[in-house]
């Protein structure tokens, strides 16, 4: 893929989470959809303002858990009943209560790993380069104490002047045009 060029979006910087939420609501109301806010800690209200509610992380976790349970249980049953049957203390070969603990542990192992890696994958991480890192004030604030709203250029309503006007009406500290 050739490197993209041009404007990525307009990045507005705010001091408080409240201002960010208000600005997001305003932009959403004005019809913008391709936008994203950036905060130094999770702000639920900001996600609501973006109308972002559902994540598929729990589903991935459930699927991972089911996979771990099945893998663990089948592995134990195959090994102890068919693969390597041993007569120990005259216990039945299929002594399922003894199989509970390892199957349980693998349920947790698989679901835990799929939760973490699933979350990263849904987030598109690892992604070491992102256009926003080009914004001079982003690195200094987004992971410390500032709140950012980025209206992206690939939104059909995006217009350099109109969008800037909209953002200015929210009185941010700064508005930066981010290049790819």
């Amino acid at each position: 893929m050739p490197p993209r060029e041009g404007v990525y979006g307009l990045l507005a910087e705010f001091n408080t989470p409240g201002e960010l939420v208000q600005a997001t609501k305003l932009a959403y109301g004005a019809g913008y959809r391709r936008m994203e806010s950036y905060t130094p800690y999770p702000v639920e209200e900001a996600a609501e303002a973006l109308h972002f509610h559902k994540t598929r992380v729990p589903l991935i976790c459930l699927l991972g858990g089911l996979m771990g349970l099945t893998t663990g249980a089948l592995l134990e049953i195959w090994i102890n009943v068919w693969g390597y049957p041993l007569n120990l203390r005259a216990m039945p070969l299929f002594s399922w209560p003894a199989f509970v603990v390892p199957a349980y542990e693998w349920t947790i192992l698989f679901s835990g790993l799929s939760t973490c890696f699933g979350m990263l994958a849904l987030n598109g991480l690892p992604q070491l380069y992102h256009p926003l890192f080009n914004a001079p004030n982003f690195a200094d604030g987004a992971s410390t104490d500032k709140f950012f709203l980025c209206l992206e250029a690939n939104d059909p309503r995006f217009d350099r002047l109109e969008t800037r006007k909209l953002l200015e009406s929210c009185s941010p500290i700064s508005i930066v045009e981010v290049q790819h």
Partner: protein
């Protein structure tokens, strides 16, 4: 209880006048100030001399592990004091002790998260680190105890030319699964929790090496709201998974004992009593680490007396469960009317190694469970520091009593023996303290010890009024 009592000196700025409780974070902090405080520890150019000295000392002690393991590999487990009948000895005592210590970290990071105990935010990161390093030390022991550690992978189910597979009806095979899962999930949870903080460090780092290293570790985290929502969801799910996991790990370890038909081991109270004991010793270790760290790095604003008070309360509760466990063991050995149980308990209390039982009663019950009721002592850092050592000594003796006294005098008097640890046992055990301290000191220097992103959520500036209009007023007030 104590919190209902008279409100203490009201002029103490750390006390919230509305509740009479110590504040979780000292007033007057901003997003920037908490970030600077925590990131400054890692990103400073001046490594404190005391840290270097501590690392040198810890690494020297950790050499004990290298020497003892090398000699063990060359000579075999015969260099240890283990014999028949006392075949478990230090290896299993230390294994159970270390892994028990780890349990408080998961309890703090997972169970207290589910219960919305936000005070945990300041201490969960280094408690999780403690878990991982304790599990490292713990896992070493059973692996060496199998005799040929280089064949340790035989414990895992994998297709091999010998056509031999593990035997899943043994609790010792369950242990492999429980401990390896515990280690993996703890590392995943710990690392995932650090990703946003690594992002902060990447953005604040000055040196190119630090920027690069933290940048790689942060995997490009940029604090996007959609990312945060998925991240929070994953954190909650991992907490929900870790909670039954941590309970199951020590339960499985207690099965190693309880499934055996041995007087003093074969009892149903072992799982809950082991888990409570694990949390008890783990909180003691968190105090051992937290009290010097908050002093040395001036983190008293973030790890406040409220934290110490709460941790002491958890110790009081779990210590009481442990005390109940001891009482029940004594009661059942009488009530079971079993000659063997009765003798085991007599031998445990008044036999040749009876002194160990009374050490554990003194250090696990008599000293902590009488003094922790006092609020004055619970907020006295020096006393808690002392007590944390007392409890960890006591918990080590608890495992010593369980492992050794049940084994060395069993059913057949002609096979009675005794147990004496050798210098190699001591060297390896003391070496693991050095290993643990070395790893912890490295963590304290190079990773964010206190989760910055979670601390930010505890500040008053995060409050948003309807539509956001109150936010400014709140912030102005807070600053």
């Amino acid at each position: 209880m104590a919190t209902q009592g008279p409100i203490p000196e009201i002029d103490d700025p750390m006390i919230d006048p509305r509740t009479g409780e110590y504040a979780v974070i000292a007033p007057g902090h901003t997003f920037k100030s908490v970030t600077q405080k925590v990131a400054g520890i890692v990103l400073t150019d001046n490594t404190p001399m005391a840290w270097l000295g501590g690392l040198f000392l810890a690494a020297t002690v950790a050499m004990g592990v290298v020497v003892a393991v090398t000699w063990l590999v060359l000579k075999g487990v015969g260099i240890w004091g283990i014999t028949i009948p006392g075949a478990w000895g230090f290896a299993i005592i230390n294994f159970v002790w270390w892994i028990g210590i780890g349990h408080a970290g998961t309890l703090i990071s997972a169970i207290l998260l589910l219960f919305k105990q936000t005070w945990r935010n300041s201490i969960n990161r280094f408690a999780e680190a403690m878990t991982i390093f304790a599990v490292c030390c713990a896992a070493m022991f059973p692996l060496l105890h199998v005799g040929r550690p280089w064949l340790g992978y035989w414990l895992l189910p994998y297709p091999n030319s010998m056509n031999v597979w593990p035997q899943f009806r043994s609790p010792l095979a369950w242990d492999v699964f429980a401990v390896s899962t515990y280690a993996t999930i703890s590392i995943v949870f710990w690392y995932m929790g650090m990703i946003p903080d690594f992002g902060t460090l990447r953005d604040r780092a000055k040196s190119p090496l630090a920027k690069y290293a933290y940048g790689m570790l942060a995997v490009g985290w940029r604090g996007s709201t959609r990312h945060w929502i998925r991240y929070e969801s994953a954190s909650l799910l991992l907490a929900g998974l870790s909670t039954p996991l941590v309970l199951s790990v020590h339960t499985t370890i207690s099965f190693d004992f309880a499934v055996a038909a041995m007087a003093g081991w074969h009892t149903t109270i072992f799982p809950p009593y082991f888990v409570a004991g694990a949390v008890y010793s783990g909180f003691a270790m968190v105090l051992t680490l937290a009290i010097p760290i908050r002093k040395f790095y001036h983190l008293e604003d973030l790890v406040t007396l409220r934290h110490l008070d709460n941790m002491a309360k958890v110790m009081l509760a779990t210590g009481s469960i442990v005390g109940y466990g001891y009482g029940m063991e004594v009661f059942m050995s009488w009530y079971s009317a079993s000659h063997w149980e009765y003798f085991m308990m007599w031998n445990r209390m008044f036999g040749p190694m009876g002194w160990a039982y009374w050490v554990l009663v003194l250090t696990n019950l008599a000293i902590p469970l009488t003094t922790l009721w006092s609020r004055k002592l619970r907020v006295n850092a020096a006393y808690l520091f002392f007590l944390s050592f007392v409890v960890n000594i006591g918990m080590w003796f608890e495992r010593f009593v369980i492992v050794v006294t049940s084994l060395y005098r069993d059913y057949l008097p002609s096979s009675w023996g005794t147990y004496r640890a050798t210098k190699w046992d001591y060297m390896l055990f003391i070496g693991t303290w050095g290993l643990f301290s070395t790893l912890f000191l490295l963590f304290a220097r190079f990773a964010p010890m206190v989760p910055m992103s979670e601390l930010r959520t505890m500040l008053p500036q995060t409050k948003i009024g309807k539509g956001g209009e109150d936010a400014k007023a709140v912030v102005q007030e807070a600053i």
